[in-house]
Symmetry: C2
Subunit: 199 residues, 2 copies
DNA sequence: ATAAGATAATACTAACGAGTAATATATGGT
DNA sequence: ACCATATATTACTCGTTAGTATTATCTTAT
């Protein structure tokens, strides 16, 4: 008796994926504490115990989303490491390509990016990591004599992270600018500064 | 009978100020939702109803702290507006001074800054406002022929805000660098870029 | 056809945390 | 000396929300 039990055509993987996707949206829009499991399951058209069939806890599904973002970003940045001995004049383009990759990834994964880069406690850790990676790249470029050597590369790396962060939120996500556009404007500014008329 | 009632030497203003200060610390460290009124009052050595004697709600005390930050920052930035017709060569120093003012304010008000600039929903609004003010200044400086004119000043303003944000968190708050130091390095980078050897 | 395992629902618990009613003690002006 | 007011406490309520015990239905391999 009753309308309990497994539904026709019910597929576990599908339910799980749906929950993940909706949860990403909720977490991205409302943050961790304002996001309710009850809302997630309601929107997914399942019940609370179904949620706990696939995820150990609210914390766990959040972590899974975080990890997904974290891994994606890490794969990206470790791929875009510069091999030594690049042509001098192609460096700006290389840097632009690397930045474009990051912005494209963010753009294609808005919800998890919001979670992993803006809303979470671990966002700081991730940004710190990104800054370190950027700093290492900058230092190796200084060794090649490309930049001024009297600058603090750790500082510049942090400035770049702040720049990426801010422009992602204000220009990329609202669709005001494309990844390539943002990347090339950043590179232009950071290389030449605002006073330059040099070419 | 009992130990109820007003305490000897109890001063309302003092209790209120203490609650505000502790609340600022809690909100700054844990964010809004993880901060508990019960913890605040416990740390302040008063009870819950005492809290509600001075603040309408948890939301209200949070708003009060937010407003304090918001007002402080606004006073600062509106004061540092550039009057027209400044000497060409003194502009970098002027900009550095303005930035130093902001960093000093942040440094002297860490907790509310964390709340108003990093943890809150309204942080976005505040940053947006700051970006607009910076953009206006930049544009007026372009009119004076100081910068290249082919750059998107809205974009640069956002980059500056991101820069301020990030360096506040990673260099200023940990005490790694002083306000003046950070300000002058920013100005140097943004004016000259990383390629420049010009002087 | 049937048992085992997978997928789901109903109806609950348990805890936490914001906010309050009622009550008591100190202080300061008259 | 006394009362009005400011300051504080004890001991609650009440809603919200994460998580669960139990039961039911579907699916698939044999």
């Amino acid at each position: 008796m009753g309308k309990r039990g497994r539904k026709k055509g019910a597929s576990g993987e599908q339910s799980r994926a749906l929950l993940l996707s909706i949860a990403a949206e909720e977490f991205a829009n409302k943050g961790y504490y304002q996001t309710k499991v009850s809302t997630i399951v309601q929107r997914a058209g399942v019940t609370q115990p179904t949620f706990y069939l696939y995820f150990k806890s609210k914390e766990a599904i959040y972590q899974e989303l975080m990890d997904s973002f974290s891994k994606g970003l890490f794969d990206l940045t470790s791929k875009s490491r510069l091999e030594p001995g690049i042509d001098f004049n192609s460096l700006p383009l290389r840097i632009t390509k690397g930045l474009t990759g990051i912005f494209t990834f963010f753009s294609e994964n808005q919800n998890v990016t919001r979670i992993g880069f803006f809303n979470s406690l671990e966002a700081e850790v991730i940004k710190k990591q990104l800054a370190l990676q950027i700093r290492d790249n900058l230092i190796s470029e200084v060794k090649n004599g490309y930049f001024q050597t009297d600058m603090d590369m750790g500082l510049i790396a942090e400035i770049l992270v702040g720049t990426i962060e801010r422009l992602t939120l204000t220009k990329l996500f609202p669709g005001i600018k494309e990844p390539e556009e943002i990347a090339s404007e950043i590179v232009h500014l950071f290389l030449n500064g605002m006073l330059s008329k040099r070419e």
